[in-house]
Symmetry: C2
Subunit: 150 residues, 2 copies
């Protein structure tokens, strides 16, 4: 196994899924994110909207704040943001301001994803890779909302 | 002078302009916001993107986090958000999540305002009032960028 196998999109997305599972355990909508710079995770976060009573506390928002803090600059153009579910318009627009280099996401969100509004919410230079471990990411969401309806 | 004169949109927008002036003094893009509940300001904030090295630290984002913290709930449906300049898509979508009751803004932003992308970024129930003290809000922005170009 070589380095490129270890540090694959699947590898980092699994770390994001771990974050989503932590959110699930806190009764939060299970979405997780990590941000990677030079094959190193510089930020990890999960949704904390209910815990913090803060509608802006999405996984991506916290990860972006944390990563820019780690880097000491406001741009993430050399970073990859992994998130388990397609970002909402707020998070996509935050990626825009950070000029995020690459956005990798798992499951699509046909109701609240940014693509429902416009792909122009992202920065034109941001590379998009989707469907990475999408079934696992989607399964967490489906299970969460199934339990909520009980 | 009665209470409705004192607690007018102009009155609260002036408080937001005060915040924008504080941002200007910190060499930040001069945008300020306040959030009002029952004629009382429950959050004040100004842009801190450069100070915090955080692309998400727009005035509205901080004000929403602060206001939901003050209220102890994630919705601002009974609140009015005043901001000196038209919100960007990130901040408009944050207003969506908070189900902001009323959005009052001053100057339009023809380049980065949310209406450039879509008015659907806001919650369908949010009432929009614009152009409040727009000349003063715009003047601060014009003066800031004029100094930047020197």
């Amino acid at each position: 196994m070589n380095v490129s196998d270890i540090f694959s999109h699947d590898y980092f997305m699994r770390q994001a899924i771990n974050e989503a599972q932590t959110a699930f355990a806190k009764d939060e909508v299970p979405i997780g994110a990590v941000i990677v710079f030079n094959n190193k995770i510089i930020a990890r976060a999960h949704n904390l909207v209910e815990t913090l009573n803060d509608p802006t506390a999405h996984a991506e928002m916290q990860a972006i704040t944390s990563a820019t803090n780690a880097i000491g600059g406001k741009y993430l153009d050399n970073c990859i943001l992994y998130v388990t579910v397609e970002p909402c318009p707020m998070c996509a627009a935050a990626c825009f301001w950070a000029q995020t280099g690459t956005l990798v996401y798992g499951a699509s969100d046909e109701k609240r994803g940014f693509t429902v509004i416009s792909e122009k919410l992202l920065h034109p230079k941001t590379l998009i890779i989707k469907d990475v471990l999408k079934d696992e990411a989607a399964e967490l969401m489906i299970e969460f909302f199934k339990q909520k309806r009980k």
